[in-house]
């Protein structure tokens, strides 16, 4: 062997060792970064869980002011005394709820007067995202509960729809909600409840109940426990609704 050859061999060996070291380093980096990634994701998941648990506390039965007049596990306000039960889940920000009210409201009023149905109104707040962070759905549902306590649910329900704000606007201010209350004869206790958000956590609870019953959209109309819809999950027409009530009455 010549000297030159030996030198070349040594250089080659050195290169191999360096390559092995680099490969070893890559392996170590891959293992530890992978462990780090998994740990970060686990922690993120736990944070989500923790935040949820914390929020659950605010809808604990002990912290929610359930209006004394509420029926159906304290989630609704009943109107009428008829044998057929009609549950209406509505959000005061929802334009289709307003349409349903305009379209079928008079028929419902007539059925209540004829003692055919008992309507249970469930004010839910699923459209809080559509009021620029002012949570109009929750505030209006809470205000409706305050009106119900003072015996004016139906009247207040009507003025809320008559004055429905546009989706993705700020919604009506608390002052406006109180002013509308005054227009139907609601007084100081109502105003205090609106300003103190007395029933806002109750509205959240009603929405929870609504979701746990498997309903997603508003208005959801349920006649004697059976959801009534038009074709392709559309709003039922007054005719479809009337048929459902007639069928339920047997």
């Amino acid at each position: 062997m010549s000297k030159g050859n030996r030198g070349r061999d040594r250089a080659a060996a050195k290169r191999i060792v360096e390559q092995q070291k680099a490969a070893e380093r890559r392996r170590r980096v891959t293992i530890w970064t992978s462990v780090g990634v998994v740990a970060v994701l686990l922690i993120a998941g736990l944070i989500g869980w923790g935040v949820l648990a914390n929020q659950e506390k605010s809808t604990d039965a002990s912290k929610v002011n359930t209006p004394s007049v509420a029926v159906d596990d304290g989630t609704a306000f009943a109107v009428g005394t008829g044998p057929v039960t009609v549950d209406i889940y509505e959000d005061f920000m929802c334009p289709i709820c307003h349409s349903f009210e305009d379209q079928t409201g008079p028929t419902i009023t007539q059925m209540v007067a004829d003692k055919k149905i008992t309507v249970r109104y469930h004010p839910v707040s699923i459209l809080d995202r559509a009021s620029n962070g002012t949570q109009y759905s929750t505030r209006s549902a809470g205000a409706a509960a305050a009106a119900a306590v003072d015996g004016k649910f139906l009247e207040y329900h009507k003025v809320l729809f008559d004055n429905q704000p546009e989706e993705n606007s700020d919604g009506l201010s608390n002052e406006k909600l109180i002013e509308l209350g005054q227009s139907v004869g609601l007084g100081d206790t109502f105003a205090t409840a609106v300003n103190d958000k007395t029933y806002d956590s109750w509205a959240t609870k009603v929405t929870e109940t609504f979701a746990s019953r498997g309903y997603n959209g508003t208005p959801t109309i349920v006649v004697n426990g059976k959801q009534v819809e038009g074709p392709n999950n559309t709003l039922p027409t007054t005719e479809v609704f009337t048929q459902a009530v007639t069928a339920a009455a047997g």
Binding site: A22, R25, R26, V29, T30, T33, S34, G36, V37, V38, V40, L41, I43, A44, G45, I47, G48, W49, V51, L52, Q55, C94, I96, S99, I126, L127, D128, R129, T204, T207, E208, A211, S212, G214, N216, G217, T218, P219, G230, N232, N233, T234, L235
Partner: protein
């Protein structure tokens, strides 16, 4: 000469393509998570709308998912354990696609809740499942690029491995 140069040029381009894929996917997850994290109750309702699990389970998934998406988005943004992060993103996307397909197959009319709190979809508005799926498949392709070629520029991986 041209023949020999083409492949090497492509090889040089891959880290840049992967970088774009990584940052794009990071943005997708950060936005998707960020939109949901502000209202976990709505996120729970969106999951519940798929009608695949009990409401109590949906609540947990709905709360955990946005945080997971944000964390994954941040990990992709800094580019750490890129291949694993991208693989996890791919798994999540496959689950999302499966969920949408199942909602579609069962004729549910729901908002997929991909980039919103979703859930409620009533009267008039129709679900656009085809578009939702197409979009998610596009994101899945980004994740695929990263699983295949995880090396990218401006990444913690590159820094630690001493690539540059």
């Amino acid at each position: 000469m041209d023949l020999r140069q083409q492949p090497s040029r492509l090889a040089a381009a891959w880290p840049w393509i992967s970088t774009l894929a990584r940052l794009g996917l990071a943005a997708v997850f950060l936005i998707a998570g960020g939109l949901k994290v502000t209202d976990l109750a709505a996120s729970a309702r969106a999951v519940n709308a798929y009608d695949l699990m009990s409401y109590d389970t949906a609540k947990v998934i709905g709360a955990v998912q946005p945080f997971l998406e944000i964390a994954l988005g941040l990990l992709l943004l800094i580019g750490i354990a890129t291949r694993l992060s991208a693989a996890i993103a791919a798994v999540l996307l496959v689950i999302f696609i499966a969920g949408i397909v199942s909602a579609w197959a069962r004729g549910l009319q729901i908002d997929c809740g991909c980039f919103s709190k979703g859930g409620e979809l009533t009267g008039g508005r129709t679900a656009q499942y085809g578009l939702d799926i197409l979009r998610d498949v596009g994101f899945l392709a980004l994740a695929g690029i990263l699983v295949w070629k995880p090396r990218s520029k401006f990444s913690v991986d590159g820094l630690l491995m001493g690539d540059r």
